[in-house]
Amino acid sequence: MALADIRQRPGVLLGAAILMHVVLISAQVNTASGLPVLQVITFGSFAEVQRGTMAMVDGVRNLWSGYVALKDAHRENDALKHELQTLQVRLQEERAEAQRTDNLRQLLELRERAHLDTTAAEVIAAAASPEFRTVTIDKGTSEGLKTDMAVISPAGVVGRVILPSGRAAKVQLLIDRNAAAGGLIERTRVQGVVEGVGDGSLRMDYVPATADVKPGDLVVTSGIDGIYPKGFVIGTIEQVDRGSGGYHLITVRPAVDFTRLEEVLVVRTPPASREGPEGKP
């Protein structure tokens, strides 16, 4: 029956016969490299089959990993996001800790440099009202703090203690409208009174119009106010205008960034003098 079927399809039989002969001939022929043609063709063909199979397997694998396995990827993504958030928080904590360490190191350097009896304190609160530029520190009378003790930072003068309690104290910042300090221009040694304006800047008064003053000059404490030790940086002259009554109208940019105040030093050394130009503090 099968033979009869084949006889009804001579084309198939011819193809099979030709293929058989080609295979037979190929089995006996060597290529230029000395390998049997049949082996080369068989290997080449099979390699193509393997390539196709591998491509198919890769396709299925890519399909699986790219689409079907997205369920796991979504879960993994959520876990990674959570881990990332945790690590970001930890990183911020580490950065804050490093910053705090750096601030403390600067305070320590200032303390050693100033040769003053100081105590480090941490700013724990800002003023409740924007009209009064004060901060609260975590040291009080129990640490020996008293009214009118100077508060400084590595950048410069911060202010003075105005209300000490047992374990905290209120510090009036130098930029407060009611604050003032005796200052002198470092370059020319011209003295004056530095007062807070209330908008974050300082004003230096009582500098004679004849005095040599120019923007960029450094203003430091003169020490004559009886509060602030002499020689600490207050700020830099930003603008010099002609004022009334024979005085310059000088605007000073504070050296301390009061918006980033974290750690300070409270000077417990008794002031050498309590006489200021105007006696304002």
Binding site: L13, I18, I25
Partner: protein
Amino acid sequence: MKLVAASAAILVALALQTTLAGLVIRGTAAIDLVLIVVVYIALKSGPVTGLLAGTVAGLIQDALSTPMLGIGGLAKTLVGFLSGVLAAQFILTGPLPRFVLLLLATALHAAIFMGLCVLLDLRQFPDPVPAVIGQALGNGFVGVVGFQLIEWLPGFVDRRRAGRFLKR
């Protein structure tokens, strides 16, 4: 019965071909009896039988003479098949059509055989056309005569027997 006859014819042709091995034209056998037998089987039995006959005969001939098995087999397979196809499509009972068929079959066989030999660097044919023409004419002549004899002989014997019977 046909299978036995075809096999016998092929074997006889192979045996005779070996005796005619010395008869060559420019390096090519002057007559290919095996090819003639294959064409005849294809003429009588159709393309499939011609194909099978060509395959068997060619492979045996290759095994006996050709340095590579399959070359003659492939050539004779195609010749047997195409001869059967032509015989099925056209009336090839007369001597002339058969002569032409043998010429074409020989040319096709030579083209395939020589082409493969050259392609596989088995043998060179410096002047193939005269050799092929000579073989084609030889095959055509021997084939036509042989076909006529084979087809005439049974009737001749029958007539002789019938004549003897009538004389008695």
